[in-house]
């Protein structure tokens, strides 16, 4: 199987997720799009690992997963805290730091 197709797939997924981050305003959906970006980059890492015949790419993908788990825990806690104070899940409503 040609690795080029996997890389294109990874780029497609990353671009779709990027589009989601730019057009959606529900904070949970934006956060899920970030997860989708991490997944897309993982696919590229695994493909390059097979391409070059070494396991380092898979290790990198593994560390991305660990970091994503930690990020989701803190990120969702922040979302819940903001929802408690502002009663809203829209990214436009968390604007106190706006210059």
């Amino acid at each position: 199987m040609d690795p080029q197709a996997y890389i294109v797939m990874s780029a497609i997924l990353f671009s779709i997720a990027l589009l989601g981050v730019m057009i959606r305003r529900n904070v949970l959906i934006v956060f899920m799009c970030i997860e989708l970006m991490l997944n897309a980059s993982n696919l590229a890492l695994v493909t390059f690992s097979r391409m070059h015949g070494s396991l380092d790419g898979q290790i990198a993908a593994f560390f991305v997963m660990v970091v994503a788990a930690a990020e989701v825990v803190v990120g969702l806690a922040i979302i819940v805290t903001i929802y408690r104070t502002r009663r809203s899940a829209s990214v436009d409503d968390a604007n106190l730091l706006k210059f």
Binding site: L13, I16, L43, V46, F62, A69
Partner: protein, 297 residues
């Protein structure tokens, strides 16, 4: 061989590519966050299959267990608290933002294809040699994690503990008023009894009938009236409290069939209980004979 050039990996890829693209589009286009999360789950499971097809069985398992099983379920739990009923306004805050965003994403995609796509030259080496060096994919990854990448791995543990602590701190809420002790609760309840006459004990449980004992069946008092507090006030407001006459009807029919002479009052027929003559069993026996009621009056 019918299709000699199609391998398992390419079959899995071309079958799952539309699923992944549609799932990703569903993630960013679904109105409700829950639908988004389910589409994302489909993408993640398809990605796990791609890992399995690319000689990464460990990442295949981790992708399903950690991403689909843990992270996405965490998302769904938070959606229960936050996002299910939050509707997103579809009005653009910045004019023309959507068109520009689509153009930017398209441009970025082309950039990625030209930049990363050119990094692939020649045939893939394949992981057979790297996997077999230590006796398998999992063993090879373990040798790397606990060998060359051991410092990063240890840092990961610190990161996870910090994340857990951070989530605890963020989710912690300071109690604004003191928690009442058992003694204070009892004092308060008895003071209320002394002042307003509110019953200090437990509320009566819902009624138990021959065929029903759910929370919406009202209990009957000794004189046949409904005990109002035996069903939740929410159910009463919603109007979903059962009618005791309906609940008693099957019992009445049965008694009518087996002991017609005592059927006029099921309470006396079922148990040898005779109601006080001054308080006829209202509710249990809604229709009195016209002659009898005149006599009582």
């Amino acid at each position: 061989m019918i299709v000699p050039l199609v391998t398992g990996a390419s079959f899995a890829f071309w079958m799952l590519m539309p699923v992944m693209i549609l799932g990703a589009l569903g993630t960013i286009l679904a109105r409700k966050p829950v639908h988004s999360a389910l589409s994302l789950a489909a993408v993640m499971v398809s990605l796990a299959v791609q890992y399995a097809a690319q000689q990464a069985p460990f990442l295949f398992a981790v992708q399903i267990i950690v991403y689909t099983g843990a992270i996405l379920m965490l998302f769904l739990f938070v959606m229960m608290i936050v996002g299910v009923d939050t509707s997103e306004s579809l009005v653009e805050t910045i004019k023309g933002q959507r068109v520009l965003a689509i153009l930017a994403a398209l441009g970025f995609f082309i950039l990625l294809i030209f930049a990363v796509g050119n990094a692939l030259v020649g045939r893939p080496t394949g992981l057979a040699q790297a996997n077999n060096a230590n006796g398998g994919n999992v063993q090879g990854l373990a040798a790397l994690i606990f060998g060359r990448y051991v410092v990063a791995f240890e840092a990961t543990s610190a990161l996870l503990i910090t994340a857990a602590l951070g989530a605890m701190v963020l989710a912690h809420r300071e109690r604004t008023r003191k928690k009442k002790t058992q003694a204070e609760l009892v004092t308060e309840r008895l003071r209320k009894y002394a002042e307003t006459g509110a019953h200090p004990g437990a509320l009566p449980p819902p009624g138990v009938y021959a065929r029903h004992n759910a929370v919406d069946t009202p209990a009957l008092l000794a004189n046949g009236e409904i005990a109002e507090v035996s069903v939740s006030s929410t159910l009463r407001q919603r109007g979903s409290v059962q009618n005791p006459a309906d609940l008693i009807a099957p019992t009445k029919q049965t008694v009518q069939a087996i002991a017609p002479d005592r059927a006029e009052n099921p309470a006396t027929a079922v148990a040898s209980y005779v109601p006080h003559p001054a308080t006829p069993a209202r509710g249990i026996q809604p229709e009195l004979e016209p002659g009898e009621s005149e006599e009582e009056n």
